[in-house]
């Protein structure tokens, strides 16, 4: 983040221009030299060549607990006269790896068993346990959803609901938990409908529901009302840019309007890549969804128990409406009775006529003594829930917000021609182009070979699969590097390449080139299974270092700690903060998957952003206390809690969250509803579970909230709070607001 002053900027600009001219001249010279020396054009600059198959450096200083990662890191540190700092304590490491892998703190019971486990591989076993824990998928899916700018609404005016989007969220969680090979994960999302070969003159195979759901990926860009060719152009461009930055780590989108300013991505390459998507076919929107871009595709349930779940859910939702209706009938009779009693002198003629009653007003009137406050509350809840019944039922229909390839002639329009759109404008076509891969990687602009079915019955098919196979190939230099770098960033706080969606010139290059290469090849060797890479990273000695005790020399030589002479302390993401509060108060609903949840918002702010009707189906029951990944992602309304901790509903691909510090966070954590609601539960829980000894209560509270015992100083400071439940509630508020609660060492 830098504001350049005017003059500086001017200077910088001229320097840059001069530098560009020089760089141009120099590269010409180099090219001439290379050509003279007979070096082929295949010699590319980093990162466009395959990762080098390097052996980890040999080193005598490798810590006992560690792996190959450390040999790379220690070599670089050694060159700078640095080394690892001391190991983090067992407790610190445990809390770190818990948040890192499952996004929640360890329980006091697990802390005790882990501390008691003196076996040499106790930590490794803990890591394996966490990687098998299904909460791993719930944690890591969020990072992926940020990248693909997942939301449950389309954004813009009206912000229309996308009732089937949530299936994709579940698909990501499930895929991660099953450790689906990453190359398959890529292919499913880009070309889930083109997996099966079409032989002979057979029917088009029906894609697996899971793969139909996966392709929701291509439809998550925010959109406003459809506008013919312009919208289609934007739709295809969004697919192109996102595939480029998410899978290839290239800001391909910059070349939509002009040649990339820094990287070798000419505008032609953007449209060559866009051509792979040019045969996609969207279903027309359902009636009443005029503002939405495209409808849905059938995608029946595929996870075990899913359809039974949906059946039960449907019945439950319907019953809400029934309870509302029957309560309405009951109250109406009572209201009529009451009205009659109020007006006994009315003429007898009207006896058979029903008095006019506005039931809502009658019920909500606090002075109405014919109804109890409990009934009043129940009525208002039922009424609110009934409003959203049809919306919920729609979500349960087995469909996905997906797409397919066009059927081509004679069924649907033929193969469209892709043009370069000058300045990125939809109505400004330039030369026509053929589908092809980015030339900065392949070294040429030849058309890609698209393998059609033998009878060429489906000439519009296989385009996306051609691209997907090239991306998800062992031979693609970018794909594996980009994903291992993303994992690295989430584990170590910074990527080996600091800009995880941009491996181009502006990235500044990798801090450890050979390590990145080694990890990329390792992923390919391990059949693209991400959990093996997670395991390697979190069991390295680098990961087990302390973040608090370190050599000041490291700070001086390497202030940003890119060489990792210590661990990087980090703040939890908004989701992890909310989940932790609910977890330690004992009220987190562990149920996985399913419909979006709608936790209570402060002061009815959902009503303030309504369009024709609010979409926020507020729920205060256990459903609303599921993990944050299930919260409804409404583009025009981010939950204030999430927003204050930098958790946005994504409009744009988000490779990295910021971590700002504002007074609004303090107001949220201290005064906000979540703390207000959960602090007493936390207090009760500690009160009930600990012995009557106040010191025990304090101990348990500390262990739950911070994963450690209180110091004697803290016992002195806070001991008084443990004598009553009210005191314990105060203690809960205090603990939730400590830095330690939201920062992980």
């Amino acid at each position: 983040m830098k504001t350049m002053s005017r003059n500086n900027h001017g200077m910088a600009y001229h320097r840059r221009r001069r530098a560009t001219v020089w760089a141009g001249l120099m590269s010409c010279l180099i090219w001439i030299t290379l050509l003279q020396e007979g070096i082929t054009a295949d010699e590319k600059e980093w990162p466009f060549y395959m990762p080098a198959d390097v052996a980890p450096p040999q080193s005598k200083t490798i810590p006992q607990e560690g792996n190959e990662i450390d040999t790379f890191l220690l070599q670089r540190l050694g060159e700078k006269g640095l080394k690892y700092t001391e190991k983090a304590s067992k407790l610190t490491l445990m809390r770190r790896v818990y948040f890192d892998l499952i996004g929640l703190p360890p329980t006091p019971e697990r802390i005790d068993t882990f501390l008691a486990d003196q076996e040499p591989k106790a930590y490794e076993r803990l890591v394996d346990e966490l990687l098998k824990d299904p909460r791993y998928g719930e944690r890591w899916a969020k990072f992926w959803l940020d990248l693909v700018r997942y939301a449950d609404t389309a954004g813009y005016e009206g912000d229309p609901d996308l009732p089937h989007a949530w299936r994709y969220r579940d698909y990501v969680i499930d895929s991660l938990n099953r450790d689906k090979p990453y190359d398959l994960f890529v292919k499913e999302q880009i070309a889930g409908d083109e997996f099966h070969e079409v032989m002979g003159a057979g029917e088009l195979p029906i894609p697996e529901p899971e793969r139909v759901v996966a392709m929701t990926f291509l439809r998550l860009a925010p959109f406003t009302e459809p506008r013919g060719n312009e919208t289609r152009h934007e739709l295809l461009s969004e697919m192109t840019s996102t595939v480029g930055s998410v899978f290839l780590g290239l800001t391909v989108g910059c070349a939509k309007c002009h040649d990339h300013k820094y990287d070798r991505i000419p505008i032609k390459d953007f449209y060559r890549m866009q051509a792979f998507f040019n045969t996609v076919q969207l279903m027309p929107p359902e009636r009443g969804d005029a503002f939405q871009i495209g409808g849905s595709m059938p995608a029946s349930f595929y996870r075990k128990g899913e359809s039974e779940w949906a059946e039960a859910k449907r019945a439950e939702i319907r019953s809400r409406k029934d309870s509302y209706e029957s309560m309405k009938t009951r109250l109406r009779i009572r209201a009529e009775e009451a009205k009659r009693q109020e007006k006994p002198l009315e003429s007898t003629d009207s006896k058979n006529e029903k008095p006019e009653i506005n039931l809502d007003q009658w019920v909500e009137n606090p002075e109405n003594m014919h109804i109890s406050p409990e009934e009043r509350q129940q009525y208002s809840q039922l009424r609110h829930q009934a409003k959203f019944v049809s919306q919920h039922l729609k979500r349960l229909v087995p469909r996905a917000m997906s797409l397919r390839h066009s059927f081509g002639p004679p069924y649907e329009p033929g193969i469209p021609v892709t043009h370069i759109m000058l300045r990125g404008a939809y109505d400004n076509p330039g030369e026509s182009v053929e589908a092809g891969f980015p030339s900065c990687i392949t070294g040429h602009q030849n058309a890609a070979q698209i393998r059609l079915d033998p009878f060429k019955r489906w000439p519009t098919r296989s385009r996306r699969m051609t691209l997907a196979q090239w991306i998800a190939s062992d031979k693609n230099p970018m794909t594996a590097r980009v994903i291992v770098n993303r994992l690295w960033m989430h584990h170590f706080g910074k990527g080996i390449v600091e800009t995880p969606s941009d491996f181009g010139k502006l990235s500044g290059g990798p801090s450890h080139r050979t390590l990145l290469d080694w990890l990329a090849l390792k992923l390919i060797d391990e059949k693209w299974r991400l959990k093996t890479i997670h395991r390697l990273m979190v069991t390295s000695a680098a990961y087990r270092q302390s973040s608090t005790v370190f050599d000041p020399l490291g700070l001086e030589i390497d202030p940003d700690n890119r060489l990792l002479s210590r661990f990087n302390r980090r703040r939890l993401e908004a989701e992890a903060i909310r989940d932790s509060i609910l977890f330690v108060s004992g009220r987190l609903n562990p149920e996985m998957y399913g419909l979006p949840i709608f936790p209570k918002l402060p002061d009815g702010i959902e009503e303030r952003v309504k369009y024709s009707n609010s979409k926020w189906a507020t729920d205060t029951g256990p459903e609303s206390r599921k993990r944050s990944i299930y919260i409804y992602q409404q583009r025009t309304l981010t939950m204030p809690f999430m927003q204050s901790f930098d958790g946005l509903v994504c409009e744009d691909t988000l490779p990295k969250r910021s971590t700002s510090i504002t007074p609004l966070q303090a107001l949220e954590m201290y005064n906000g509803t979540l703390t207000q609601e959960e602090a007493p539960h936390f207090a009760d829980r500690c009160f009930n579970d600990a012995s009557a000894n106040p010191e025990d209560r304090l101990s348990l509270a500390f262990k739950r909230a911070l994963g450690r015992h209180p110091s004697s100083r803290e016992v002195q400071l806070l001991g008084d709070y443990t004598t009553s439940r009210e005191g314990m509630t105060q203690l809960a508020r205090i603990l939730f607001n400590t830095s330690e609660f939201i920062y992980v060492d």
Partner: protein, 480 residues
């Protein structure tokens, strides 16, 4: 470039935080001027070019204000009332599409008169603003990238028709910081009847750090969300707990020596504590004298809503808030300026709601000597067409969207009083000369706040980003 690496990290940390200060004592924290530019991302910063304006009030009229019923006098339209626009207009895009459909011109139902020393034509709908007309500089024929409310609202409020970009206020706070650290530097005062198109993303920080997001000043409950401690927690109890939190956090800091991020978090708690008092005081209108309440129209039903918004904006200026975004109108419906039907009735209603409050704001600021240091901008997301798209003129005709005819005005600071830039044709259909683009207007706003659009940059996703994207032309005609 700093030679002290420790300082460099500290800086990196602190640039992301609200108010990072090394001093732990409460007294130290209260002294705002102790906070150097280097450690606090929203500490006041030097302007790129010296300009008078220190604050900006952005008045956004949701829905698309009809320019030919307000600030553009087009007598020709009366002659053409009920008839189509004469053939042969050099129009493109959506306008071309609209004109190819049956349409009938709608002459303005309102009387226009000349006002002020400048003799500017204004419609009868703005009698109060007419008194201040010499303060204003008008921009006519502004072109927005899209003619739908969603994208056009984004375009005018964030510089891009696509969501995800920082709003104008975020950029200004990013560039200039803010003066009063007890209040947010960028506040949003929305229409009490509801939210604008696109909701809160209209004041979002986009890819800038979250500290630069607009803070919604609410009109019910506490002025800022969560400003009040839970009911059972008294102020003294809260202070006691805050002290305990501070002690624990300081203890924690001992094991993280020199960790500026944790230091600023401690400071943020103290700021939050003070904001609990500062913010309610800032929005407490009960101390305003009757004459002022009357001036802003708080005593009348139609003007009370926006009058309150405008009066709050003045109080924000007095308290050193950098940027106030005021929104009038609600998405779509009768409370929006989106008058596709009955533009006469609609315009009467909307202008009645804002005319007196806006004029009062200018007058009040001027009276207090604050207009000189405050840039006031009047905007909407688009203009409207001179015609209605129907084959027969209906009884109460309306007007359609026109992304070629947005009219805005500015006042205060270094705005040249009575100036005009740009002009629309005889029908108010589109700009007569080269169209003025929204990015030109944004470059001008930045310029009037002392910022250069080319220098106010942020690197995001591999690109150097700016409010004006490819750069705007400053409209020098309206700057002194």
């Amino acid at each position: 470039m700093s030679t002290n690496p420790l300082k460099a990290t500290r800086r990196a940390f602190l640039e992301r935080s609200w108010n990072g200060i090394g001093s732990m004592g409460l007294a130290g924290m209260l002294a705002d001027d102790l906070l150097g530019e280097s450690v606090n991302p929203i500490a006041p910063k030097t302007q790129h070019t010296p300009r008078k304006a220190k604050h900006c009030i952005f008045l956004f009229m949701q829905g698309g204000v009809s320019q030919m019923d307000s600030f553009e006098y087009k007598p020709r339209l009366r002659e053409l009332h009920g008839k189509p626009i004469p053939a042969g207009q050099a129009v493109a895009g959506e306008l071309q599409g609209r004109l190819s459909f049956p349409h009938a011109c709608v002459g303005s139902a309102f009387e226009f008169k000349r006002h002020g020393d400048t003799g500017r034509w204004l419609s009868e709908l703005f009698p109060h603003l007419a008194r201040r007309v010499d303060d204003l500089a008008f921009i006519h024929g502004i072109k927005t990238d899209n003619q739908n409310h969603g994208p056009a609202t984004y375009h005018v409020t964030t510089g891009s028709q696509f969501p995800g970009s920082p709003s104008v206020g975020s950029w200004i706070q990013y560039g200039l910081g803010t003066q009063n650290q007890n209040m947010p530097g960028y506040v949003v005062i929305q229409d009490p009847r509801g939210a604008p198109c696109n909701g809160a993303s209209v004041w979002a920080n986009g890819y800038l750090p979250a500290v630069h997001q607009g803070t919604l000043l609410r009109d019910r409950g506490t002025p800022i969300l969560n400003l009040k401690p839970p009911a059972q927690v008294s102020s003294s109890l809260q202070r006691e707990e805050f002290d305990k939190i501070r002690q624990l956090n300081q203890e924690h800091l001992l094991s993280h020596p020199k960790d500026s991020e944790l230091e600023s978090r401690i400071a943020a708690y103290e700021l939050a504590f003070r904001m609990q008092t500062a913010a309610p005081e800032a929005v407490d209108l009960s101390t305003e004298p009757e004459s002022i309440r009357k001036l802003y129209g708080l005593d009348q039903e139609q003007t009370a809503g926006f009058g309150r918004q405008c009066l709050l904006a003045r109080r924000m200026v007095e308290r050193g808030v950098r940027y106030s975004l005021l929104i009038h109108g609600v998405q779509i419906g009768s409370h929006s300026w989106d008058d596709h039907g009955n533009v006469e009735g609609g315009m009467r209603k909307h202008s009645r709601e804002v005319d007196q409050p806006v004029a009062a704001l200018l007058e009040d600021l001027d009276h207090r000597g604050l207009l000189d240091e405050t840039l006031v901008v009047w905007a909407s997301e688009m203009g409207r067409t001179p015609f209605v798209n129907t084959s027969q003129l209906p009884k109460n005709p309306g007007r359609e969207h026109n992304s070629y005819g947005l009219c805005m005005w500015m006042a205060g600071g270094n705005v040249k009083r009575g100036a005009t830039v740009g002009a629309t044709d005889a029908f108010s259909l589109r700009s007569m000369g080269a169209p003025i683009h929204v990015r030109d207007v944004h470059a001008t706003i930045l310029q009037l706040m002392g910022l250069e659009d080319e220098s106010l940059t942020f690197r995001h996703a591999g690109r150097i980003r700016k409010l004006t994207d490819i750069g705007g032309h400053v409209l020098k005609e309206i700057i002194t």
